[in-house]
């Protein structure tokens, strides 16, 4: 539905012969299009501003090479900067499970972002890597949340630690880690309840869980369709529980996923996986270049 950025840039530079240097006027006009494209992709406005400034500085005076059109030249710079901001080619997108087992992975995020599904996907993925995962049902609020995780665990034949309704989520997580030790599980995945970043009481709960079980990874599960609020949400969670990474879900639709760029730029939290479907195998490693292309609608 959006005219692709490259087409729009070709339009802008159509008057140029394709030689010489990019002038400030050309670049400024191009940057307006870049700004629009990023906003349409839901990149946070403040991040867009920073980004456009960086690209502007690089583009002005850049030599237009014979084989590239000026539009391609600008797009190239934009693309490279995006990849850079997403963590660069060799980005740390691997999970760190280097502690003494069991290593704990804690999933946190807003309601409905995909935590429970992602917990099952991660368990499935890690088992294929030779780990012995244990899933933990730490959501005592959403109706049938425990059943949801148990059903997924059963489908995958992966054990799920659960306690009766009304149990304290912090205790559940502590008990689960003890249980994992007894059962010689190598990885423990905590599925916490969805919560708003501004819900003090609920945020205290994840802070308490983090303190008590000292997870190796604390991952924010964020919906790829998230808009401008992504930054505030991620910053608040980061401040509360010191995130080690994020997983962007629902990337199988047509959301451009600008939220990932915003979160990465503002908090420095790296993207570790993408969720690409509802099934338990729909989890992909993250590649910055692919996401950069997608944000640009390329």
């Amino acid at each position: 539905m959006f005219e692709s950025l490259s087409k729009r840039l070709e339009g802008i530079f159509s008057g140029l012969s394709g030689k010489g240097k990019l002038t400030e006027a050309d670049v400024n006009e191009a940057m307006r299009e870049v700004r629009l494209a990023l906003l349409e992709a839901d990149v946070n406005l403040r991040v867009v501003r920073q980004f456009v400034e960086r690209v502007r500085a690089k583009a002005i005076g850049a030599e237009v090479l014979g084989s590239f059109s000026p539009a391609q030249q600008v797009l190239q710079i934009v693309h490279e900067e995006l990849i850079d901001m997403l963590g660069g080619e060799g980005s740390q997108n691997r999970l760190d499970l280097g502690g003494p087992p069991p290593n704990v992975i804690m999933l946190v995020g807003l309601q409905g972002s995909g935590k429970t599904t992602t917990a099952a996907k991660l368990a499935n993925y890690l088992r294929k890597e030779g780990q012995r995962p244990l899933l933990v049902a730490a959501d005592m609020y959403r109706p049938a949340a425990v059943r949801q995780l148990q059903t997924l665990g059963k489908q995958l034949s992966i054990p799920v630690y659960a306690e009766p309704m009304g149990a304290n989520p912090v205790d559940i997580c502590v008990h689960a880690v003890d249980y994992a030790r007894e059962q010689a599980a190598s990885v423990v995945i905590l599925d916490t309840a969805g919560r708003l970043n501004i819900d003090e009481q609920m945020m205290q709960e994840v802070i308490a869980i983090r303190k008590r079980v000292q997870p190796r990874e604390v991952l924010l599960v964020a919906d790829a369709m998230t808009g401008q609020e992504a930054v505030r949400v991620a910053s608040d969670f980061n401040q509360a529980v010191a995130l080690t990474g994020m997983i962007l879900t629902k990337m199988d639709g047509d959301a451009r996923g600008g939220a990932a760029l915003s979160i990465r730029a503002v908090t420095g939290v790296p993207v570790k996986f993408l969720g690409v479907g509802e099934k338990t195998d729909a989890l992909e490693p993250f590649y910055p270049d692919r996401l950069a292309s997608r944000i640009l609608g390329m």
Binding site: L39, E40, A144, L196, N197, D223, E229, D252
Partner: protein, 280 residues
């Protein structure tokens, strides 16, 4: 402060606040052009005058508040609750059922999400809490068959409203959208007037994708209304303007929390007020 003159900085700040509320770049650009025009024509000189004009424009985009439609010929009204994954459909079904029950309706629910793990149990748990019957089959069964059962049960047991909880589906998934069309056909076979409501549930934290969702659902199955959930978050749900204006479909309710009582009929004025409220 109210009567400051309009400056370039003011325009920039206005643009910023609209974009940060997820109004979207193109709607924001359109709004600002319109306001600049009006400022000139109507000689709006102070920021409060321009803000008042902005409120008017935003309200125009939202259109009128609209009530729920009920069957006029048949004894049973059917409302389908649809939308992408995790937007809040099942919770909204429970909230709506609770509300309609309070208003004196005899409500019945259909658990037509037979796909997602725990979806049927989730709706059943809500049904128990609010004391409203839930018609369901086994996981994996045909959603159309569940809706068929629910219509029969609704008619024979004297219910007057059937709320159908459907599976989350991304609008880009052809097969899942076809499945939804099939559910609509099942309803129409027995209740040609129905479904009276096709309500899309959109999460307030969504950005510009909301418009693509609403458009595709409208195209494929038609929409009679929008429910924006999670308005208790820090997000403002600014996509509502483009959605309502583009599709001509009214926003009907806002979800404001996880409890059954957290559903508010949409009030355009307070929505616009909340959107323009300056947060610190």
């Amino acid at each position: 402060r109210q009567d400051e003159p309009v400056t370039d900085t003011f325009w920039d700040e206005l643009e910023e606040s609209l974009i940060e509320a997820d109004v979207g770049a193109s709607t924001t650009t359109w709004l600002l052009e319109r306001l600049r025009e009006r400022a000139e024509q109507e000689r709006l000189r102070t920021t409060s005058q321009v803000r008042r004009a902005l409120r008017e424009e935003l309200l125009t985009l939202l259109g009128k508040a609209a009530p729920l439609h009920f069957a006029t010929q048949a004894p049973l009204t059917v409302m389908l609750i649809i939308g992408v994954n995790g937007s809040g459909k099942t919770t909204t079904v429970a909230k709506l059922a609770y509300r309609l029950k309070q208003e004196g309706h005899r409500v019945i629910l259909a658990a037509a999400d037979t796909f997602r793990a725990g979806a049927i149990e989730q709706l059943k748990a809500w049904g128990e809490r609010i004391d409203v019957p839930v018609i369901s089959q086994n996981p994996g069964s045909d959603p159309g068959a569940v809706v068929y059962d629910a219509i029969q049960a609704g008619l024979s047991r004297g219910h007057d409203v059937l709320l159908v909880d459907t599976a989350g589906r991304l609008h880009t998934k052809f097969n899942l959208m076809e499945e939804l069309k099939k559910i609509g056909k099942v309803v129409q076979k027995f209740l040609p007037e129905g479904p009276q409501e096709l309500l899309i549930v959109i999460d307030a934290t969504t950005g510009q994708n909301a418009l693509l969702q609403a458009r595709k659902f409208a195209e494929d199955v038609g929409l009679t209304g929008v429910i924006i959930t999670k308005m208790d978050s820090t997000a403002k749900g600014g996509f509502a303007f483009a959605v309502a204006d583009d599709l001509g479909v009214p926003i009907k309710f806002l979800g404001t929390g996880e409890k059954v009582t957290d559903l508010t009929p949409f009030d355009p004025e307070s929505f616009v007020e909340a959107l323009l409220a300056q947060d610190e």
